[in-house]
């Protein structure tokens, strides 16, 4: 396994109280595998991503274990972690508008990454950058290298970031909603591009999104998060053909489809993570909830091969 996250808990200290943003998450990722994580806003997706790459703000507290390339990341020295970042693990953020430094050119950014991790000459750096800009289908890589971020469109910037994240051939690429800020047609292009690149590189991907359709399009496996927890995780085929958790099911029914059909909302709203509901966090919105759900927290259990669900009302033997 490339990455093993075990019983990860991340909380933020705020004026309002402690936000349990990620609560007891366990997952693993093999080489060349893509895990899509879906969840509504505030469910802890970004927090999970940031804790893997070690960029949580100082107000965050991390418990549990993250093993990557046989290193325990939670106790890694900062300097060593820094060398991993950008080299072995990379990340692409959601907002291509703000993720690039406005006062420097794209070339400088990509060159700095190369020189930091590989040393070598400026020329090598730039020629690699150029090559990768070509691979992400940026028209006129040479010109882009000497452009400032504001001179590029959102789609172009996201391509630049993708090139930067793949340039040093990392083992793990985290993409945190890389297409959410883009137009549908551009999103389609980027997803297409990612799909193509996946076949060319050795990396594994964690692909975070709130869009079930996107998750379905890119993920080998899909994990569904709700209120800081993974409530269901399975292969793409399994999860969309046989969703077991009431939340996953509700979600699928709530999404409008171009193919038509009525939507069915999930009642209520996402709970506060300062004072999450007792027991199963979904129980106040769950049509199936009973007393036990309000009291006892369900564990994530494997109910079929590779299909994990955290729900009292689902068991290995069957489902509602």
């Amino acid at each position: 396994m490339l990455l093993e996250v075990h019983d990860l808990r991340v909380s933020y200290h705020t004026d309002e109280g402690t936000v349990k943003a990620v609560d007891s998450v366990t997952l693993s990722l093999g080489r060349r595998e893509t895990l899509a994580i879906v969840g509504e806003s505030g469910s802890g997706k970004s927090t999970l991503a940031l804790s893997i790459i070690g960029l949580l703000p100082k107000t965050a507290r991390v418990d549990g274990s993250i093993r990557f390339l046989n290193k325990e990341l939670t106790s890694l020295r900062e300097e060593e972690f820094r060398r991993l970042r950008g080299d072995r693990i990379t990340i692409v953020f959601q907002e291509p508008m703000t993720a690039l430094n406005p006062v420097f050119t794209i070339g400088k950014f990509m060159r700095d990454i190369y020189l930091t991790h590989r040393g070598g000459t400026e020329k090598d750096a730039l020629s690699l950058a150029r090559e990768w800009l070509g691979k992400v289908k940026v028209p006129g890589p040479e010109k882009v290298l000497s452009s400032y971020p504001h001179e590029l469109s959102g789609g172009m910037r996201q391509r630049v970031l993708i090139a930067s994240s793949l340039m040093l051939e990392p083992d793990l690429v985290i993409m945190d909603e890389p297409t959410s800020a883009l137009d549908v047609s551009v999103q389609a292009q980027i997803l297409r591009l990612i799909a193509e690149l996946k076949s060319q590189v050795e990396a594994s991907f964690i692909f975070i999104t709130h869009n079930l359709g996107v998750a379905a399009a890119v993920g080998d496996r899909v994990a569904v998060m709700y209120a800081g927890k993974i409530v269901e995780m399975a292969s793409k085929e399994e999860i969309f053909s046989n969703p077991m958790h009431p939340y996953t099911q509700g979600l699928l029914r709530a999404v409008p489809k171009v193919s038509g059909g009525e939507v069915e909302p999930i009642p209520g709203s996402v709970p506060s993570l300062v004072n999450p509901p007792s027991g199963c966090r979904f129980h106040p919105r769950c049509p199936l909830a009973d007393e036990r759900c309000a009291e006892e927290e369900p564990a994530l259990m494997e109910v079929g091969s590779g299909h994990w669900v955290a729900c009292h009302r689902v068991s290995g033997s069957g489902r509602w």
């Binding site: 960029l55 970042r85 950008g86 080299d87 993720a99 430094n101 406005p102 420097f104």
Partner: protein, 309 residues
């Protein structure tokens, strides 16, 4: 035309109406004074004929706009008439004093910038820690400090107790130390606050997180990626502070009896030597506008996005 050139020209042209406004106000000053300007400009014992002569000589009998044009064309040549009392031309008095003040301000500014920026970064790197609080408190003390009081204290320490530095006068570098230290400390406080605030702001930006996410070392992230962005508001503050120093030097110059522009203006106010007051104020305000324009232009070099404005 490139965006940059367009921006620079635009900035420069935009400064012109401001400068014109400044000159009109300064020009109107003697007309705003209660009473007849010619009478005011005449020595107290002047006879009616003498007052009339002065009126004619200074062109005060001409229509206002014509007077203004004369005033402006002279001002552009650097001529501001004569002191009413000493018979020196105003420029003879003005430029050496201006040079002194400029020297003082530049020195103080240099000092304030270096200390302030370092302090600000130092604090911003560890927000809400003891060292941040120390810097924040110090700079708050600095901006609360009456500059003339600070001057007196420095005199008490360095001139009276330690007898190291002269308490006043001018001429040698020694004479510049205390006044520029006084101004510079206050300047450093302002710059420090601005740097800290803007550095904190910048450090919380996405692109800094991106830089970190790609493993770039702290030195690079802070002193190149962050600082370049953080400098923009600092430069603004620095421009304002420089103006403040030019003007605030009045107090410092008084405390240290430093023969600068501020003192010249204040003394001229006391002596009712209005041509000097006019010229002095015009020169400080013009410098201020020029500096702020320069700052605006500097922006565009620091941050390419601004060129588009």
């Amino acid at each position: 035309m490139s965006d940059l050139a367009r921006y620079v020209i635009r900035r420069i042209i935009l400064a012109i109406p401001t400068l014109l406004g400044v000159s009109v106000i300064v020009f109107l000053m003697i007309h705003m004074l209660p009473g007849d300007p010619a009478q005011l400009l005449a020595p107290p014992e002047a006879t009616i004929q003498e007052v009339e002569m002065i009126r004619r000589r200074l062109g005060l009998d001409k229509p206002l706009w014509e007077q203004y044009l004369i005033f402006m064309s002279n001002a552009l040549k650097g001529e501001f008439g004569k002191s009413l009392f000493t018979g020196h031309t105003v420029s003879e008095l003005l430029w050496p004093a201006y040079l002194n003040t400029l020297t003082l301000s530049v020195l103080a500014m240099g000092f304030g910038l270096v200390i302030g920026v370092l302090m600000g970064i130092y604090a911003a790197l560890r927000p809400n820690t003891v060292r941040d609080q120390a810097v924040t408190s110090l700079s708050l003390l600095g901006i609360s400090m009456p500059v003339f009081w600070l001057g007196l204290i420095l005199i008490e320490i360095f001139s009276v107790w330690l007898r190291l530095l002269p308490s006043g006068g001018s001429g040698t570098f020694k004479h510049l130390i205390l006044p520029s230290l006084t101004l510079g400390l206050v300047g450093a406080a302002y710059v420090g606050r601005a740097t800290r605030a803007s550095m904190l702001e910048v450090l919380s930006q996405e692109y800094i997180r991106t830089a970190r996410a790609y493993g770039l070392p702290d030195r690079l992230v802070i002193y190149v990626y962050a600082l370049r962005n953080a400098l923009i508001p600092v430069v603004t503050v620095a421009g304002l502070i420089f103006g403040y120093m030019m003007a605030g030097a009045v107090l410092t110059e008084t405390v240290f009896s430093f023969p600068g522009l501020g003192r010249l203006i204040v003394n001229a106010i006391f002596a009712r030597d209005y041509p000097i007051v006019q010229a002095g104020i015009l020169v400080v305000a013009t410098t201020f506008v020029v500096i702020n324009t320069a700052v605006d232009i500097l922006y565009a070099f620091i941050n390419p996005r601004i060129r588009l404005r």
